[in-house]
Symmetry: none
Subunit: 213 residues, 4 copies
């Protein structure tokens, strides 16, 4: 019944604090170049303490990835199921939402780091494919099919269309994480505007009745 002591509160928050620290540092410097002591320090604990929560650097990495995946997919799927109206609008809206919530923030770094470390963590790569990539494609693919079914979209092949919807965002994400400091092509346009324009371009090719330009 007694309220949790500050110490207890602290302790309960530890795993998440470590995960957050790991996320930030792994994204910034990569897995190999991040020392476990740095992560502990950033989380405000001593080196040894980290190992009370995660038995190894590898396990911490896996936990960090799992913690940052599949956050928004179920959410988006539910949203999509309920939605009624033009699919094109929903797609555009979902892209913007994903960029705002995932792509832009640190969590987007997980996409990059998964790509980088996939070879080292095959188990995690499979997990990522099964839990993130495949569901995401299924979600988008389902929407494309709904669009075709309701006559909104032309009868395009689904898989390439899904790729065309996903690729630009992921590419922007990776590019910013890798060359953001060196390629200042985005001075003229914000990432959001760029996404919008890309979406418009794609939808123009997708819609059965393109808007008059």
């Amino acid at each position: 019944m007694s309220a949790p002591s500050p110490r207890q509160r602290r302790k309960d928050a530890r795993p998440q604090e470590l995960l957050d620290a790991a996320l930030a540092l792994f994204v910034e410097k990569g897995f190999a170049a991040t020392r476990s002591e740095e992560i502990a320090a950033r989380a405000g604990v001593a080196k040894g303490t980290l190992y009370r929560y995660y038995p190894s650097k590898d396990e911490l990495f896996k936990a960090m990835v799992r913690d940052n995946l599949s956050v928004h997919i179920a959410e988006s799927a539910a949203q999509a199921a309920q939605y009624e109206g033009p699919i094109a609008n929903l797609l555009a809206q979902m892209m913007q939402a994903w960029w705002a919530k995932v792509g832009h923030g640190n969590a987007g770094g997980v996409c990059k780091i998964m790509m980088v470390e996939a070879r080292h963590f095959p188990e995690l790569a499979r997990f990522y494919v099964d839990e993130v990539i495949t569901p995401s494609k299924a979600l988008i693919g389902g929407l494309v099919q709904r669009g075709i079914a309701r006559g909104e979209f032309r009868p395009v092949p689904v898989e390439p269309t899904v790729h065309m919807l996903i690729a630009p965002m992921l590419h922007m994400l990776l590019h910013e994480h890798s060359f953001g400091a060196h390629d200042s092509c985005h001075e003229a346009m914000s990432a959001e505007d760029l996404l919008d324009a890309q979406m418009a371009l794609l939808l123009h090719g997708l819609l059965a009745q393109p808007p008059r330009t």
Copy 2:
């Protein structure tokens, strides 16, 4: 007149052999996780021999990247300058050619590894942006503008269109290098067919007078 000795022949080939070994291993395992001795072994020489040709692992990495870049860009630019006819055809053809020559083979790994290691080699990242990314964008962007100018394309904004043309290929490349072993979505379609379909989709949105489907 004297024929080069086998030893000499061997010596002349060494740098390229080391570069090839480095490419394969860096792509497969990442920079940090690749031991310099492994590279030497794969090139069929002893540890110390590597250092006769490249003074450090870092320099070897840089040489490897430089060796695999700027090979196809000038080539494509020349081809584009001479071309007369529908831009759409040229674009489609260039994409296929790039995929066949770069994306598919080991050289494509350089794109992945640059993305992965850019943070560790800022100097190299800048080089890559200046020598590869910027020229590539300029080339594609120029073609898009020619297409618009000759009335073939709708008056779309150039930059997002360039992204839409580049992203799918790069995304496929990275995806295959990272999750190829785990994501078997490509069983049904070959990468080439996928690219074709993506291109068709995009061009449909791009062309002033889309073909009747």
Copy 3:
């Protein structure tokens, strides 16, 4: 109030233990020929532990030199300032004291090793010149001048006299450290007796009124 744990006690003693081990080994085998692991082993710790205390072999060397210098100079200077009486006696006494405290023990090895490694550590060489050699010469030179001023010594040139006072001791020191095992000339006379005799000889040339032999 809490007693320091054995571990803590150990930790506090480590730096000195490492310094002592380094002194012994560097003197015995030279800087380059001493492996850092040997030093650690001699101090009773593992390789890695050494690097917790000194960031590199170079820094360990520097710390070791600093730890063994400037200990006796200030002491001797104070002693000299207070002294009243025949300078000759003071000089003789100081020589004997220096030999007993520095020349004979391990600390004397620092003189040898500084001589040996000065080329490799120019910064340290300057430190040694400024902190040890120059003050020592100043101290001895001051005493010679006092001796001349009070009519005890002939009006000899100061600098050569200082050299004549210092050289024999240093020469003995270096000789013992280098050839002690091979040159058994000292069987007949102890180092102390030899020093005494050398001193007597020099003073005989120095004193305005030599003792009748």
Copy 4:
């Protein structure tokens, strides 16, 4: 009967050229810090060629030391045996000659390097003691005794006197080689003048009838 070809002449000179290169580099940088390739380069030959003349770096070092020792001792001994006149003059003259021929030039570096590397080359240390140190002491000691016998010197103990005659020169030699770049005390006096003054001081204590100052 045919005159030796230039190539032959070159070959005959090789060992000495290698020895000279080794001397210069070992003195300048120390044994461990001198790479055998540097020595070869300085002698104008390739790395492998060095090993045709000396089977190892160690052997080259030993040969270099032997080549530079015992050059002037026999000579001086002969000179001393013939000499008639005041011993003090002979001693002063021998010191100056030794400094000019050995101490000053590169050959003097051998004294330093012997001191440095004695522990690593015990066999060489013994050789040095037997061939250089002991004969030198014997030569000087004999002169001191002659001086005493002919009433020129006071009846001083021989061994300490020998030390007092040798130490200043050796000390100057070592000091210059180690701290020459950092200790500019010799600005006011040349080494030769310093030696002269030291000698005068010592002789004043040595002579039965000191000159009136």
